[in-house]
Amino acid sequence: MILRGIIPTTPLPSLRLKLKPTRNVTASSSQTTVSKFSISDQELESRGFILRRTISDLDINHLNSVFVAVGFPRRDPDKIRVALENTSSLLWIEYEKTRRPVAFARATGDDVFNAIVWDVVVDPSYQGMGLGKAVMERLIDELLEKGICNIALYSEPRVLGFYRPLGFVADPGGIRGMVYSRKSKNKKL
């Protein structure tokens, strides 16, 4: 699977494998396909950014701070925990030096047909470095690996430009995202 517009710049994967034979299986599989992401796992690591795919080492309060920093309302951490425990795919980046989450994204769905991406955030102090893209590319990759090809999200108008280069299209075929609102139910048209 090759993402559009990605030009591989890393050396031949097979060479890498020979140079570092002690790498574990997971790492070597990401090495053989390392060119599919804009920033490779190695590059992230070398800059002190650790990729995480489970909530085991995630401090919910730290995550909540990132949510608040980007403008989300502060939500009950216990509820956040429930939400994360019932999320089948998630990815976050931990900054080695602070041991805190600096980027996050998750996707809910039926794990077979559909997935919706929620809570895509990058700590404002770490924005502009490609971390949001890094997290999104990998999340999409994980969903595709599961066979899920209907990947959707709701985008605020100001970040449509972030999602478009990742391959997202707004209102394809005239489909509209709709949200239930108690106010609009009672509103006379």
Partner: protein, 247 residues
């Protein structure tokens, strides 16, 4: 006669398959060909009349010679969360001229036979999906709501015919967000407000579970259908986006 032949492929955009043919008594109910030409006041009137007529039209929605009984009291649409909704209940009951009693049962218990579901999907014209995947999708859904038709012949000693005639499901993170997918009603039962009842009940069930954000993706032809149920397109300019959609 309104018909929209909106067949939404579930793998692409699983919303409503709604080739409805409205009978004259339901014309007001399904005036989802939007009221473009109408003034604001007449539209206002139409909506409030719509609410009042909703259950009336369910009642009269069935064929003329039947005695139809609406089992559920008209809901107070403003206070959806007051009483906990039972998991299964009779939506409509009617007696046919031949004495057969038909009940339409709503259930949110999630007990769906995948073979029946596939038959229903065939009826609405959706492309086939592997049964194992259908089963998994149902299992991984937070809420699966169904409509079944139960037909009892008089004096048949409890021999009843139970058919799946509608379904809607929602995925969720159990805390904040839920998304409704795959809303479908058997074409021979369309035009009677069952789709609306289904979605309305799903929304109510989700609200009762304290899920604050209920979303869905609607084909352009059914945007008004959902608007009438309280859904708003692009709230605050937020756009639904899809990854490399097959359009």
């Amino acid at each position: 006669m309104l018909s929209y032949n909106a067949v939404a492929s579930p793998s692409r955009c699983p919303i409503v398959s709604f080739g409805c043919q409205c009978q004259s008594s339901n014309q007001l109910l399904f005036s989802s060909n939007p009221n473009y030409g109408l003034s604001k006041t007449s539209r206002k009137l139409k909506v409030s009349r719509f609410k009042a007529r909703f259950w009336e039209s369910i009642r009269s929605g069935f064929l003329k010679n039947n005695s139809t009984q609406v089992m559920e009291a008209p809901p107070d649409l403003e206070e959806e969360e007051e009483e906990p909704m039972p998991e299964e209940f009779v939506l409509i009951e009617k007696t046919q001229p031949d004495g057969v009693i038909e009940q339409i049962i709503f259930s949110s218990g999630g007990d769906v036979n995948v073979y029946e579901l596939q038959t229903l999907c065939d009826k609405v014209g959706w492309p086939r999906r592997p049964l194992s995947k259908l089963a998994a999708a149902l299992k991984n859904s937070y809420l699966v709501a169904t409509l079944h038709s139960i037909r009892k012949s008089p004096g048949s000693e409890g021999n009843e015919q139970r058919t799946l005639i509608g379904m809607a499901r929602a995925t969720s993170d159990h805390a904040f967000n839920a998304t409704i997918w795959d809303v479908l009603v058997d074409p021979s039962y369309q035009g009677q407000g069952l789709g609306k009842a289904l979605v309305e009940k799903v929304v109510r069930a989700l609200l009762q579970k304290d899920i604050g954000n209920i979303s869905l993706f609607a084909d352009s032809q059914v945007v008004d259908f959902y608007r009438n149920l309280g859904f708003e397109p692009d709230p605050e300019g937020i756009k639904g986006m899809f990854w490399h959609p097959k359009y």
